[in-house]
Amino acid sequence: MFHSRTVEIWVGLFVAIGFAALFMLAMQVSNLSTVTGDDGYEVTARFENISGLKVRSAVTMAGVKIGKVSDINFDPQTFEAVVSLRIDSRYNEIPTDTSASIFTAGLLGEKYIGLEAGGEEELLLAGDELELTQSSLILEQLIGQFLFSKAADGDDE
Amino acid sequence: MTYMSNVNDKPLIEIRDLHFKRGEQVIFDGVDIDIPRGKITAIMGPSGTGKTTLLRLIGGQLRPDAGTILVDGQEVAALSTRELYQLRKRMGMLFQSGALLTDINVYENVAFPLREHTELSESMIRSLVLVKLEAVGLRGARHLMPSELSGGMARRVALARAIALDPMMILYDEPFTGQDPISMGVLLELIHTLNNALGLTSIVVSHDVKETITISDHIYLLSNGKVIAHGSPDELEKSPSDWAQQFLQGLADGPVPFHYAANDYAEDLLVTMGKHMKGGAV
């Protein structure tokens, strides 16, 4: 039981550093500081095609992340994708006629949902549905359309 | 038997018809031993006769295959773990190596059983530890680590630790092996005086015949899983058994053959030569 004070100080230091590292991982590395847990409210939006959007994808407004995709379902009646968006409770003054579009970050990047505010006075509440949506752009379709129109142009000449 | 006259009350340890096997090897094959109270009893025999095993059986670390071991009226093998631990607090055991805890110093080693089993204050523990260390003459060595002790000193510290809880008996496992004459003398003296001064019962397992005989009141000779002879040192010296005489006098040949059981020597050699011949022919 020699130098018990030194040993104890070292152990104290070790535990402190360990918890500091855990704290740093939680605060600095993870999204804890940007989106706090599960509080917030949920709205839904229907899209014809969401290709590439995933649960946990970002929901942004004017480029600022305000929430995330919490659930994705398929509606077998209308053949549409039903996406649930969990929006941080700080951003609770969003008009009901806000439109939702699926964008791609960069050419090959992640899909995310961008919201664009409308002009209504009424505000979105939990459980509301966003009526105006624009589906994901699919690269293959775009290229196909582009080639097709080019070919059509060529025929005209 | 003659020794019955020395026993005034019930023996502290009664072993009856003890059988014990390790794997296929028979260690004890019907052994009866009585250890009288307040005396030094020596258990002797050649290496490998299971003397240490006997101590472990008494201490409850091993269970006999058949037979009973009564320690102070309690059957060791039938005790629950809790009862066994209670019994062990009243037994001290001195291991061949000393078995001191190597990460703490001499003082803490002797204090270890006190700290584990009593709620004594630090100053009480200190006085007790110093008393025990003084008894073995190592009060001055209390700050040393076990690695700094000689073999004899380590055994004396272990002895101080064994008597820390004032046990009713002490089991000594080969206390004299590998000791120089001086520490051998010290250990002999210690075992003798501690036994008389503290009213202990001592069991000494040893094959150092001359030394052990000088301090023991009663001797058991074990070989091949049986008690070959027993009695006081004087009785044993007059024992008619050839085996006992060979062991006590340390003769090279006798009932215990010098040679390990083998085929005929000449035949064995011939086989080797035959092989060589064959090898040469090829």
Binding site: M1, A21, L22, S30, G37, G106, L108 | Y85, F95, E116
Partner: protein, 271 residues
């Protein structure tokens, strides 16, 4: 015996016997290991009165592993920064370097590499220490002093190991993220803000960090359990102790890697 040798089935029977013996031995060891774990765990509540013992073990198991964890964490993080940058820059995605480094460390390398280092550094020394205590009759001696060595010696070491590894893994990951930052931002010129913000956008507290911590707790239990069991169960000779030490490192490392796959499949399988 000689009659048996003539039968044509003998080699097959021998082989079957060997297989049977191997399996029996394996399950016997497994059973002893679980019994020991049970005894150790049942001894842990008693440590509430002996915190000192645990503190000393935290020192020898945790604090003494700190250096190797910090140094390895730093270098692993720096390598991740360098390699990640070289790969990502081809796609113009070097801004995702922070995400790459952090996810790799928090989900996988932090828990796994620190568990492997822990097995080599602390696990082997636990096995050797306990094995030597057995070989020098210290455990036996303790039993004869009516002190249960499982509770007195094994339980504090086990608890200290289980508590240490999650902390060491967290330190490893945190240092690694800083090492990646140093290489990516300071040396290679990735944007400082992008490094952290991309990281924070993608690393999830629950899915990534908690799961990483759970992994390292599981690894801590398994590695320390193996180390303590091998020491306690070893043949009490110098050869036995050295074999047990080797076995600890090999078995613990294999167990960590195997369990990592299972845990990863359970935790991140759907995503």
């Amino acid at each position: 015996m000689s009659e048996k040798k003539h039968s044509p089935l003998t080699p097959l029977l021998d082989w079957l016997q060997q297989l049977g013996r191997f399996c029996l031995g394996f399950f016997e060891r497994l059973g002893r290991g679980h019994l020991l774990l049970f005894h150790i765990v049942s001894g842990i509540p008693g440590l509430a009165f002996k915190w000192r013992l645990v503190v000393f073990q935290l020192y020898s198991v945790g604090v003494l592993s700190l250096l190797i964890i910090v140094v390895s964490g730093l270098f692993v993080g720096m390598v991740l920064g360098l390699q990640g940058y070289n790969t990502l820059v081809d796609f113009g995605a070097e801004e995702s370097l922070g995400t790459f480094v952090a996810l790799t460390l928090v989900r996988e390398l932090g828990p796994v590499v620190s568990a492997l280092l822990f097995a080599g550094r602390a696990g082997s020394s636990l096995t050797a220490e306990i094995g030597l205590m057995k070989a020098t009759e210290q455990l036996s001696g303790m039993e004869m002093m009516a002190v249960n060595p499982v509770k007195r010696i094994l339980a504090p070491r086990f608890l200290a190991g289980v508590l240490s590894l999650p902390l060491l893994a967290a330190i490893f990951s945190a240092i690694g993220v800083m090492g990646g930052y140093f290489v990516g931002v300071d040396l290679l010129g990735v944007d400082d803000g992008a490094y952290w913000s991309q990281m924070q956008a993608k690393v999830d507290l629950h899915d990534d960090i908690y799961n990483g911590v759970i992994k390292s707790i599981v690894f801590g239990i398994v590695v320390t359990w193996i180390a303590v069991f091998e020491g306690y169960d070893c043949t009490p000779t110098s050869e036995g102790v050295s074999r047990a030490t080797t076995r600890t490192v090999v078995h613990a490392s294999l167990a960590v890697l195997g369990l990592d796959f299972v845990l990863t499949a359970l935790m991140f399988g759907e995503g």
